[in-house]
């Protein structure tokens, strides 16, 4: 078959036209409509995570906000990240009014001026729960992490020292590759470092601790995977978050709340079309007790209002990151430290994954 033969005849024309049409359709589709709606000021575009957690956010924050202000909230399950915001800001085409970001992204975005600082004239600081507000973000949730385990296999809830002691508790354990959830901090605590002395974080010490577990340490990609390993009996302990273990309680699993208090922030990308409404939204969820209470009831994650906790049951309160007992056993990530050292820590962790030390 010669080359010419391939390119002659109308066979190629139709698919080619279809391709051109498809490409143009794709290029025109999603963003422009979102942008024009947003400009009218009657809609708040939120990039968040979706799933069961997204449903809780819908009930706790977005519906009450619409009810109170008449402003419609449109949620895009966009898995937002600072990289996306950076591209949007640089191309002068910011699509989101609110983006939910992890702690590193929030801190770095603020430092690199990719995020608009929270307007604390509007947002009442006195309403904020501890750790609920930073310069560029108000928490959507503050989740407690810890060690997930099977109740019948442990007399007392395990600590990080137990986690790193294979002699005391033989078997494999799983930790997360996602460093923002405090993997390295947990390892350092496992060597006996007190919680108030975690930072400045000794990355090499953390890696040495993980390395000492050898093949008994499994690094997983997601908390869902960790749960699966625990349930299948492949591992005896997992690093996880409370939201992952609560649904498994009836099957005999429990969580020892000794991990990080991990924040997830609502932030405003620089140059968002509806910055004023976005600030109003942050002010609203901060002042709304019932909103925070709804979040706390549905997920056992903390919300931004400090008094919301009074509206939830005693039992639930004990699981929240604001509970004094939980506060004592958990730590908050030091974002200044991570802002300076994330890249180096990530590189060292990558090296550990490949070389084993």
């Amino acid at each position: 078959m010669t080359c010419r033969r391939i390119f002659t005849s109308h066979e190629i024309v139709l698919p080619a036209l279809a391709l051109v049409a498809a490409v143009f359709a794709a290029a025109y589709m999603p963003s422009s409509s979102a942008a024009s709606d947003s400009a009218s000021g009657q809609q708040l575009i939120v990039a968040a995570f979706g799933g069961a957690y997204g449903k809780a956010e819908q009930e706790a924050y977005f519906k009450p906000f619409t009810k109170a202000t008449g402003i419609e909230v449109r949620v895009l399950p966009a898995q937002p990240s600072l990289a996306q915001i950076k591209l949007q800001v640089q191309s002068n085409n910011v699509l989101w009014d609110i983006a939910e970001l992890g702690p590193w992204d929030t801190y770095n975005g603020c430092r690199d001026e990719l995020l608009t600082p929270v307007d604390y004239q509007l947002v009442r600081k006195s309403d904020l729960a501890p750790e609920a507000g930073t310069r560029c973000g108000i928490i959507a949730s503050l989740y407690t992490e810890g060690i997930g385990y099977k109740k019948s296999m442990f007399k007392t809830p395990p600590t990080w020292q137990d986690f790193f002691d294979v002699k005391k508790y033989p078997g494999k354990r799983a930790m997360e590759k996602y460093l923002q959830d405090g993997t390295l901090e947990a390892a350092v605590v496992g060597t006996g470092v007190p919680l108030d002395q975690i930072y400045p974080l000794d990355v090499e010490k953390a890696i040495a601790a993980m390395s000492s577990l050898g093949s008994d340490l499994i690094l997983v990609d997601s908390l869902a995977q960790a749960s699966q390993l625990l349930q299948s009996g492949s591992v005896v302990m997992i690093q996880t978050a409370i939201g992952r273990i609560l649904p498994l309680e009836s099957q005999g699993y429990a969580i020892s709340l000794v991990g990080q208090r991990g924040p997830s922030f609502f932030t405003i990308p620089k140059g968002a079309r509806n910055t004023t409404v976005a600030q109003k939204f942050l002010a609203f969820i901060t002042s709304c007790k019932e909103c925070t209470a709804t979040m706390e009831r549905m997920t056992a994650y903390g919300g931004p209002n400090k008094d919301g906790i009074q509206l939830v049951s005693e039992e639930r309160r004990k699981l929240l990151p604001y509970d004094p007992e939980v506060q004592k056993n958990t730590w908050a990530p030091n974002l200044e430290w991570w802002g300076e050292n994330a890249e180096a820590a990530q590189e060292a962790f990558q090296r550990f994954q490949v070389t084993g030390h």
């Binding site: 010669t2 002659t8 024309v13 051109v20 490409v23 990530q346 994954q353």
Partner: protein
Amino acid sequence: MIPGAASGTRERRSSRVPLMVSAQTLVLCGLLAVVAVFLFWPAAEIVHLSLSPWLTTENFSRIFSTPGYPAVVLNTFMIAGLVTVVTLVIGFPLAYYIWNRRSVARILCFILLLVPLLTGVLVKNIVWTVLLGNNGIINRILLDLDVISQPLQILFTRTAVVIAMTHYLLPIMVVPIYASLSRIDRSLLLAARSLGAGRFGTLRLVTLPLVMPGIVTGGIIVFVLTLGFYITPSMLGGRQGQIIPNLIYTYIRRLADLHFAAALSLLLAVVVIGLMPFVLRYVRSSHSVGGIK
């Protein structure tokens, strides 16, 4: 397939080419414009990103100077190479087997081969977790049969990654090999047999050289696709699943360092594009070794 015949076609065609050319050229120009805008431009942007700020090669030297990263690069190509070899070792006999079936059996084989392609890669990965886990089906069967006394650690190793990727990519290797096989004139094989070649001799001296183009095509496609896999190594490879695509993801998603991510992407692209001429030259030369052009 005979040179004379091909050029004959060309001559016959030339009489009615002029009218066609304009339509063809138009479409081709349109397509080229699309390719230019949606492929070359972003590619140029990636080159630009990887060299900035200020035309530096620092992003590239960083790949090789950061401890552990050369090992990631090596691991990437090792997994890709392993998957290519394993799919070939399984794929060639499979294609050969299908080629020798009668039509109905052949269609059935193809359905069996291609249906798994319709399943999402995530579903397959989860199934592999269940099959390969320490408490998984495979380990339990082996333990019950007393083949092993300790569960084998397959999940979260490079082996698991290679198994899952091979499973996913096998049809992609088989189809081009089968296409090459189906173009073989079976009388050549009869001729070889009648001239005294055994079954194996025929396979080695006649069939194999003739399907070389299919093997190389399948090999290239599988190799290139393997280099782009992200989820499978990440989910099944544990610590041994660290490959360049994971690094790219980490740098874009976690660290928002687009420059280094661009450098990593470019490294992958350059290696693949650099391999092409060698492979293509090999196809051409092996093609003529077959004796028929």
